[in-house]
């Protein structure tokens, strides 16, 4: 490219180009991700193609030959894919991902003016060419032809040409003006013109946009024949053209030869073999790491944190004046361990985008099946959450969206009758709130019909007849097992899988789910999830000789009640009067049959905890020992599932402490006389009691 013009701000264009490349590479990555996880649509492949295409286009302008060569092969492969010549098999998708990484590296090298090894990514390039060749024999995986200015093979000296030229009307419709062609020819040399107007009709039969006139030119020029052809380059398909060479040379009648594409001189890259002049100023933006390696790292950091906690505890036994350096070291270790842990967790964190991106398709497909008009609006896709959580988020989220579509959003006619827009809207959003990820799914559909919900719950014996429930409690009845509000069991979400399964899935992730609804206006499901499953901030409490961990996120407050705050209620055990509300009390020592001297809440501590969709309760313990980050170990994997316990951890003193599942604790000790129920009870009365008096 001849860009040596004075004042041509090439540097500025370069800067723009690389900024653009960064965006294009991001978009490329995102779309490739959608493609590989199957959430892409028809546009995804086109968007992928465009990214590579644009990178290649700019690269040519700046003479980044290696970049042009690589992106050309990449582009050819994508082009074949978007023309359905090559299917997006996992192997091909994998290859695209590798090519995308390599492309990023090549762009970075170009930006840094750094030479890459001659064989850089040549394996990927060959692999792409192989796929292309496999797809079609005449696949044009050939690197860009070296189109040096061709066809300058003409006889020297003046030549005479006779050019017969009759435009078709298409030529005029494409805004090619014959007069401009004549002017072009005249620039080449002496020209005589003869017009053939025999086809010209009488005026009132003349169509203004049709072509009637033909010309015969005789041109005497020293310019090569290709220059003559070039004049007609744009119009040769839209006219009758005959170019003859007159004079001494044999009457060579010439069909217009394929003219060389003007200016295309991009050559195959022969990467310079000079060593990299400067160490990479722009390092690669990301690396791919096996998830197993990260998991191993997470585990190791977990062990480290446990050891650190142990050291910290031992340190408290040391006299400060004798071991100041030791204690200082322990403190520094605690700090580093915590930072290390956060960093490692950050590696596992991924934006929820990968899950959210699948939802528009779910909505589209289902809306078509149900003949509803629905759009989905997503927000906060870049909110990051632990990879494990993300992987398990897909099912509950899909279920909730389907549910909203099937049960929530009305058909277009019904909506119109209700004065709503025919098109329903589902909002899906994610945000980080006080150490948790909150995901909301809301729709502007018909909302929950509380009367129906309550009637059905009573019908199924889930609620005692005559029990008075708050609106919120009624709404949350839909999370009870075997509850379905669909009048007609549809094949969409009426597969016997209800919101209770969603709730169980969410709880398995250490999350909470609740619903708020306004009849006729829609429902909002709120999902609150921990940032990570591996570590929780815990409150360490003691009961008798036992130590338990309560997840800090569940705790609202802790207090030591006055005797007149405690009221025994028949059949429900004790309740705590707190700011005008009565909270059921659950005695931890009773739940797990622990001997303790503290049986009076006024001697111990009451910890007020928020349960998922089930209101608040007070948990009575002996005393608080402190706050601590604990590494969660699965009890199920190492021992067995235990009611009321969500996991275990190892404390600094090496002892195992159980982490309480506050949501289900009440089901073990419901206060109805202190009888122990080792199994989680499923009797209706249990639930009814729970729901009624939880708030």
């Amino acid at each position: 490219m001849t860009t040596q013009n004075e004042g041509y701000p090439l540097e500025q264009f370069r800067k723009t180009y690389f900024e653009e490349c960064a965006e294009l590479l991001d978009a490329l990555q995102a779309n490739l991700d959608s493609l590989s996880n199957g959430s892409g649509d028809d546009d995804t492949l086109h968007a992928i193609f465009r990214s590579v295409h644009s990178i290649k286009g700019g690269a040519g302008a700046f003479g980044f030959d290696g970049l042009v060569a690589f992106s050309h092969v990449f582009e050819s492969l994508l082009d074949a894919m978007r023309e359905d010549k090559i299917p997006a098999t996992p192997d091909v998708t994998q290859l695209l991902l590798r090519a995308s990484d390599a492309l990023g590296d090549i762009v970075n090298a170009a930006r840094a003016d750094r030479a890459l090894p001659a064989d850089f990514a040549s394996d990927i390039r060959s692999a792409m060419q192989e796929v292309l060749l496999g797809a079609s024999d005449e696949a044009d995986a050939t690197p860009i032809q070296n189109e040096t200015v061709a066809a300058a093979v003409d006889v020297s000296g003046e030549q005479r040409y006779r050019i017969q030229f009759t435009p078709h009307s298409e030529m005029l419709q494409k805004a090619n003006e014959p007069l401009l062609l004549v002017k072009q020819l005249r620039k080449l040399g002496g020209l005589t013109i003869e017009a053939d107007v025999s086809k010209l009709p009488v005026l009132n039969a003349l169509e203004p946009e049709a072509a009637y006139i033909g010309w015969t030119f005789v041109l005497e020029t020293g310019a090569p024949q290709s220059a003559v052809h070039e004049v007609f380059e744009f119009v040769e398909d839209d006219c009758d053209l005959k170019i003859e060479m007159l004079g001494n040379s044999a009457g060579e009648s010439a069909e217009p030869p394929p003219s060389a594409a003007p200016g295309a001189t991009a050559a195959i890259a022969t990467p310079a073999n000079e060593p990299a002049a400067t160490p990479a100023p722009t390092p690669t933006q990301s690396i791919r790491v096996d998830v197993d390696k990260v998991d191993r790292l997470v585990n190791l950091v977990g062990e480290l944190v446990i050891t650190q906690a142990m050291l910290t505890e031992q340190g408290t036994l040391l006299p400060v004046d004798q071991y100041p350096a030791m204690l200082h070291g322990i403190e520094a270790l605690a700090q580093s361990a915590r930072e290390l842990q956060e960093s490692v967790m950050a590696i596992r964190a991924q934006p929820v985008k990968s899950v959210f991106a699948r939802m528009p398709r779910v909505v589209r497909d289902l809306a078509a099946t149900l003949h509803k008009e629905v759009r989905i609006v997503t927000a906060g896709e870049m909110t990051e959450i632990d990879k494990t959580v993300i992987e398990q988020l897909n099912d509950p989220l899909t279920h909730m969206i389907r549910n909203a579509l099937d049960h929530g959003i009305e058909g277009p006619d019904e909506r119109a009758a209700a004065g709503k827009p025919r098109q329903g809207t589902i909002h899906l959003s994610a945000a980080q709130r006080s150490g948790r990820i909150v995901i909301e799914v809301s729709d502007d559909g018909r909302g929950l019909n509380r009367e129906k919900v309550l009637a059905k719950a009573q019908d199924r014996g889930l609620v005692a007849p005559g029990a008075s429930l708050t609106d919120e409690e009624i709404d949350n009845l839909i999370f009870l097992p075997a509850f379905s509000t669909a009048d007609v069991v549809s094949n969409i979400s009426g597969r016997g899988v209800g919101m209770d399964v969603v709730k169980r899935n969410v709880q398995a992730l250490g999350g909470r789910i609740s619903v708020q609804s306004r009849f006729g206006h829609g429902s909002k499901f709120t999902l609150s999830l921990p940032l990570t499953l591996a570590v929780v901030d815990g409150m360490v409490v003691s009961v008798g000789k036992e130590t338990f961990i309560l997840p800090l996120t569940a705790i609202i407050e802790s207090l030591r009640p006055q005797p007149n705050d405690i009221h025994p209620v028949v059949g429900r055990g004790d309740v705590l009067a707190l700011r005008g509300e009565y909270l059921p009390l659950t005695y931890l020592h009773r739940c797990f049959a622990i001997d303790t001297l503290v049986t009076d809440p006024c001697q111990g501590i009451v910890i007020i905890v928020q349960r998922d969709g089930a209101g608040t309760i007070g948990i009575v313990v002996d005393e608080l020992l402190g706050q601590q980050q604990v590494v969660v170990k699965s009890l199920e994997a190492n021992y067995d599932a235990v009611d009321g316990i969500s996991g275990a951890t190892i404390l600094g003193n090496g002892r195992v402490a159980l982490i309480l599942d506050v949501t289900h604790l009440r089901e073990i000790d419901d206060g109805s006389g202190g009888n122990l129920k080792p199994q989680r009870p499923a009797q209706p009365i249990e639930v009814q009691e729970d729901m009624t008096h939880a708030a």
Binding site: M1, G57, A261, G263
Partner: protein, 121 residues
């Protein structure tokens, strides 16, 4: 009177380069990043030439050309396609849709000016 040219390309780099070159040569230049935007811009004023990329989101160059040729206010205006395609099929598509001519990327400023003068009366 100064000729007005609309350059349509999703790549800002390309728009910048075309725009700079043409402005320096004395043209009045407007920019659009895809076919849809281009149609809007065309609806708002009279242009003497359109230079468009082919591969763009929202509305590609071929669709833009068809729309312009099917419309009323710019149907007779020359349209140059700016393409990186070297195989020629896209050039043919562009021509069939009603393009006046083409310019292959990467282009030199001189070549761009020459082509513009070739199709712009």
């Amino acid at each position: 009177m100064t000729k007005r040219i609309l350059t349509v390309d999703d790549s800002k780099t390309m728009r910048d380069m075309v725009s700079f070159t043409l402005k320096k040569a004395g043209f009045d230049v407007a920019e659009a990043e895809d076919g849809k935007v281009a149609l809007n811009v065309l609806g708002g004023g009279k242009f003497d030439l359109i230079i468009t990329d082919l591969n763009m989101p929202n509305m590609d160059g071929i669709t833009l050309i068809k729309n312009v040729r099917a419309g009323s206010n710019h149907r007779g205006v020359p349209i140059l396609i700016l393409t990186t395609e070297s195989d020629g099929t896209k050039k043919a598509d562009g021509k069939n849709a009603g393009a006046t001519g083409w310019l292959v990327k990467p282009f030199s400023p001189e070549k761009l000016i020459e082509l513009v003068q070739r199709v712009c009366p």
